[in-house]
Symmetry: C2
Subunit: 321 residues, 2 copies
């Protein structure tokens, strides 16, 4: 029960397309509410239908504009679209919130679009915890596509990107050395490269560099491999956005054909189960004999009589006790 | 054994002040080497002496310059200083590496200074895992002060900052709304506020806003509370840096007097033990019956016949099996 409404009633309303019920459910999972397990169980039968698209790239490449243009293109083909905007730096910049409001306005009258900023500073492990739960809410509520937009590719962003069926990496001309430095990082996660602001000088060079990187990466892989496409866009004028939508569809078809979509989703579920389990065990560790076990071990580490690894051994023995 | 040298020999050389041995030890802990437990055990008796200072703030406030000025001031008083430069966005920007080299040069001939950039994209949980280990290496090697410099205050940075005895939050004039938006986030972690670029217009207003925020925060707390000082600096000209050093010393004295230093370090060790334990249990989960248990549970979640919470329950039962 939450504020007089049962979880199943909330889920029913969210599936009916009521944005308030959606927002309440996402808040419940973000806050680690006691009804989390009940919410998860109520959502489960309705999940697995949404196509999940990740969108990342360095600051300044036009991620918000691209997300907005993608939403428009997807809506034009009649699909309902959820957006999770993840900005790990938001406590300082406040940027996500502002950008969010601006975008909210643009789609305010369209109930086929739902946009949500993800808080990064929650308990329970932050984004890596809350984003998969919010994704399950939108999936169960019947959104055809969920876009997860993140800033940069730090560890937490990579965790978030790993939720996606298809990941778009956005770049823009004139980043030169940045692309070189980022080689390893972006090759790993990109299913589709988007060179935005493609009307600017240097776009050809950026595409050339990407092609070279892709050719290097392909040689290292085994088995049938996806040929990562490079799409040029000018998102502010919606140029090339239909090609991005086509590239996403192409990647999905390829994944289905090669059993990769299913494999990714099983991997994603494995990670999620492990994360939930680890969080629960971590809480249990802290509560062993009212916290006394952990405190005693920590005291010995502080005094230099033990170290975190030996202490972990002892803690595991106690947990099994 | 690593490349023909025993761990205890490496630790001996690091404690002798040999930077290569130091670097090798940090690489060992970053990479999750099999000798990790042995390294931790060898370091333990020598740990607990270093003063750990965290330094964070939004981009553009002059964190690198401030770190460099602090290092100089601390060296002038004869203390050995280690720096761990943490930049979660580095895969794209390459900034940490470059900044690191520039700073390395400045202190290249001084063997009382050791500077290391922390890789963020490692296995095992990234920064939250590797930074505490690197800190233990520098502590055991006899550095009097270890500065941990991070960018922004996303979740992983907050985890890192939580390692510090004293945390400096840097701001600069003209950030206006940014400070308002950041209220909750920075009040939580700051032990000392530093307003850098204090010769610029707007410095007085920044200080006023901070004072107001501090007064709000204090009302919410119980017990004897530290009066968070605000220090003005122009780090590029080393102005005000001695006052920062004094504020750090003042905070340390206050913590010792109120038992807070010990309390923080026990809390830090508790977190570290829990993180190591969780990582080990997580690995165990993945290996139950060659991975078959986790895969079966994940398959049921993907098919909508279960959810991550129910699956976690089952996994815990199996782990206890």
């Amino acid at each position: 029960m939450t504020r007089g409404m049962t979880v199943s009633e909330l889920v029913r309303r969210a599936r009916d397309g009521q944005p308030r019920a959606l927002g309440r459910l996402i808040s419940l999972v973000e806050d680690g509410s006691p009804s989390l397990a009940e919410v998860a169980a109520s959502l489960a039968p309705h999940t697995g239908r949404a196509q999940v698209v990740g969108l990342t790239g360095p600051p300044g490449v036009g991620k918000s504009t691209s997300t907005s243009a993608l939403v428009k293109a997807l809506r034009a083909s009649g699909r309902r679209v959820g957006v999770l905007a993840v900005d790990p730096s938001s406590p300082f910049s406040g940027g996500a919130l502002l950008g969010d409001r601006v975008r909210m306005q643009e789609h305010a009258t369209d109930d086929g679009v739902f946009i949500r900023s993800m808080a990064t500073r929650g308990h329970l492990g932050g984004l890596a915890w809350s984003t998969p739960q919010a994704l399950r809410v939108l999936d169960a509520a019947g959104f055809d596509v969920v876009l997860i937009e993140t800033v940069g590719v730090g560890q937490s962003e990579v965790d978030v990107v790993s939720l996606a069926d298809t990941t778009l990496v956005l770049l823009a001309p004139g980043m030169g050395d940045g692309i070189q430095a980022a080689k390893a990082g972006i090759l790993e996660v990109a299913d589709v490269f988007v060179v935005n602001k493609a009307d600017r000088e240097g776009a050809d060079q950026t595409v050339r560099e990407l092609k070279y990187m892709i050719s290097l990466g392909r040689r290292e892989k085994e088995g049938p491999s996806w040929r990562t496409p490079i799409v040029r866009t000018v998102a502010a004028r919606s140029e090339g956005v239909d090609e991005v939508v086509a590239a996403i569809a192409g990647h999905r078809d390829w994944m289905v054909e090669h059993g990769e979509l299913d494999a990714r989703r099983v991997r994603r579920a494995e990670n999620e189960i492990q994360a939930v389990t680890a969080a629960r065990l971590r809480a249990e560790m802290g509560e062993l004999r009212g916290g006394a076990v952990l405190e005693k071990l920590a005291r010995r580490v502080v005094d230099g009589r033990s170290d975190p690894y030996s202490a972990a051994e002892e803690l595991i023995t106690e947990l099994r006790g």
